[in-house]
């Protein structure tokens, strides 16, 4: 549906986007994930029409997007700041886009009413944005974008301005809405939990390049580049040389893992804290710190020959204390080998 091909954008010496190619399917909830300055927002602004790439093409259902002015694109953007018009009421804000399409007055009224119902703000129609809470403003911004029934909806950090509790509720609501209206959603976020919970597929960006495109579970369990392994979720990373059945790490010996067929190359081994067990045999270490989070406990274990402690996550309360000698182990299929460089 949306095809981004070889898009490059430079600002002076800085390359914001470097030969980015992506394909996004009809009806998909797609996330662009990355730290700030990775180029994801630039890509979003290119899709909306506020930036022009130096190279590359973008097509929507085969139509060239780049030659269209922003107001002619069948795309709407929900701004990070929401960008609600402060001098207009909620209803006027939502009607604005329809008025530009020269939709009849009666139809505008009906569609605005419907969408206000959908977002549950029917009684707020005559309020000004300044009289709404953050969560309500966010919903108005969303309503203003979807009422135009765009083929593609772009969301720039949609939940970042909300506090934690409201955020969880909005997350569910966004998913429900996307199911209901069937519009393709592209969301930009730096929050990997947000991306994981919302998206069908995620593209991870780093310094203007796409590092991996995958479904959330795949991305979490099978990171394919060192950056993704480190950026997405907590991870224990070991550096060494790949050998059959694992990774040969200096001072620590061969650690079990799966993934890279190529033996003998420099590689990383990534194992999630929740997959590390306190075992009878394996890496020997000393418990540095135990923190209890209610449902789970985090145990940091210092291992001789490694600078950073190894993180272990356990269900419930931990049965060890700081200073105790423990051994750490994991199943080979829970650890991923990633080729370096």
């Amino acid at each position: 549906m949306l095809k981004i091909d070889g898009v490059t954008r430079r600002f002076g010496d800085v390359t914001a986007l470097d030969n980015v190619s992506l394909e996004i399917e009809q009806g998909e909830f797609f996330a662009l994930l990355g730290p700030s300055g990775c180029g994801k927002t630039t890509l979003l602004r290119i899709l909306a029409g506020f930036e022009t790439p130096d190279e590359g093409t973008v097509t929507l259902d085969g139509e060239d997007l780049l030659s269209m002015a922003p107001n002619r694109r069948p795309i709407n953007l929900m701004f990070q700041s929401y960008a609600l018009f402060p001098h207009m009421t909620v209803a006027k804000n939502i009607a604005y886009g329809l008025e530009q399409e020269k939709v009849g007055k009666a139809e505008i009224k009906q569609r605005v009413g419907e969408v206000l119902e959908t977002i549950g703000l029917g009684e707020m129609a005559s309020r000004k944005p300044g009289q709404l809470s953050g969560g309500q403003r966010q919903r108005v911004a969303l309503a203003r974008a979807i009422v135009k029934r765009p083929r593609l909806l772009l969301l720039d950090e949609p939940l970042s301005a909300l506090d934690k509790k409201v955020r969880a509720g909005m997350q569910l609501e966004l998913k429900r809405l996307q199911n209901e209206v069937g519009i393709t959603f592209v969301v930009v976020t730096h929050d990997q939990e947000e991306a994981m919970s919302l998206a069908d597929r995620i593209a991870v960006f780093e310094s203007g390049r796409v590092r991996q495109v995958d479904e959330p579970v795949e991305l979490y369990e099978r990171p394919r580049t060192p950056f993704v392994a480190d950026f997405v979720g907590a991870n224990n990373l070991f550096e060494g040389t790949a050998v059959p059945g694992g990774l040969d790490v200096p001072d620590l010996g061969v650690l079990p893992g799966e993934g890279t067929e190529l033996a003998g190359v420099k590689a990383l081994l990534a194992v999630r804290p929740e997959n590390v067990r306190l075992a009878d045999r394996g890496l020997l270490g000393t418990v540095l710190d135990v923190s209890f989070y209610g449902g789970i406990s985090h145990i940091a274990v210092t291992v001789e020959g490694r600078d950073k402690p190894v993180l272990v996550a356990q269900q419930g309360a931990a049965k060890v204390e700081a200073g105790a000698q423990v051994r750490l182990g994991w199943d080979a299929h829970d650890a991923v080998l990633i080729q370096e460089g």
Partner: protein
């Protein structure tokens, strides 16, 4: 609360310093005698003299025409200049040059304009004063509107484009309402500056069509009577009203913009 009383003394002294001369001026306008310095009893006669003074009335009409016309020109051009500077150029030089007439000494501007009108063989009259006043008024409007623009959220304009509005609709329905308080403030500034502007008007007006400040200046040279005080009192009343209206309007504008 709880602060020593004597700290208010400088505060009140400042106000006395500001308003004592004005108070004297207003009181003397009701003087029965001929002198603006010695009070000889209450009378409204100088207001009557003023109303029948054709020279002053003609000067007042001229000044109002100039102020109104130059304010309209200055407001439109100044707003467009501000938007252009803020949204469509990154040149610091153009920015500085655009706001220059506001800080340039009046005398420089006056001489420059007179020479310019002479070179292009432009006739002098109310129209030349209007253009001159529009020139520096525009710089003030641009400065005020520009400040407001830098605080305005440019994503609102992008949102308008995103929702399908063209550049013109966006300007009229989104940019202008955001700027309205700044535009009103700028227009009032241009208007009040034009009303009592002397130097530039003196250089660029025709001798047959003087503005009020020029008329007053020529009267004062032949000695002052309380007629001048009466005129000043009326002008004072008008400017007070304008200031209060302006404050009200910008307040309403701010509240609207925030809501």
């Amino acid at each position: 609360m709880g602060k020593p009383r004597f700290l208010y003394v400088p505060f009140w002294l400042t106000y006395v310093f500001l308003y004592a001369p004005i108070l004297v001026l207003v009181v003397m306008s009701f003087n029965a005698g001929r002198s603006p310095y010695v009070y000889e009893g209450f009378s409204l006669k100088w207001y009557g003299v003023l109303a029948e003074d054709d020279k002053i009335m003609q000067g007042l009409v001229n000044t109002l025409i100039v102020a109104a016309a130059s304010t309209v020109l200055a407001t439109v051009l100044g707003t467009l200049l501000a938007v252009g500077l803020a949204r469509h150029t990154r040149s610091k030089l153009l920015d500085a040059l655009g706001l220059m007439p506001a800080i340039l000494p009046d005398l420089v501007l006056a001489i420059g304009l007179l020479v310019f009108y002479d070179v292009v063989k432009f006739s002098l009259g109310l129209h030349s004063v209007i253009l001159s006043h529009a020139l520096f008024g525009m710089a003030f409007v641009a400065a005020v509107v520009r400040t407001r623009l830098t605080h305005a959220d440019s994503s609102l304009e992008e949102a308008s484009r995103d929702l399908g509005a063209g550049p013109v609709t966006t300007f009229v329905r989104v940019t202008l309402p955001q700027l309205a308080p700044g535009i009103v403030a700028g227009a009032l500034l241009a208007f009040t500056l034009s009303i009592d502007e002397f130097v530039i008007a003196f250089f660029t007006a025709a001798p047959t069509e003087p503005t009020l400040p020029i008329v007053i200046y020529s009267m004062v040279r032949f000695g002052v009577t309380p007629e001048i005080n009466a005129l000043a009192s009326i002008l004072l009343l008008v400017s007070f009203t304008v200031v209060i209206v302006a404050q009200r309007m910008t307040k309403i504008g701010e509240i609207r913009a925030q809501d």
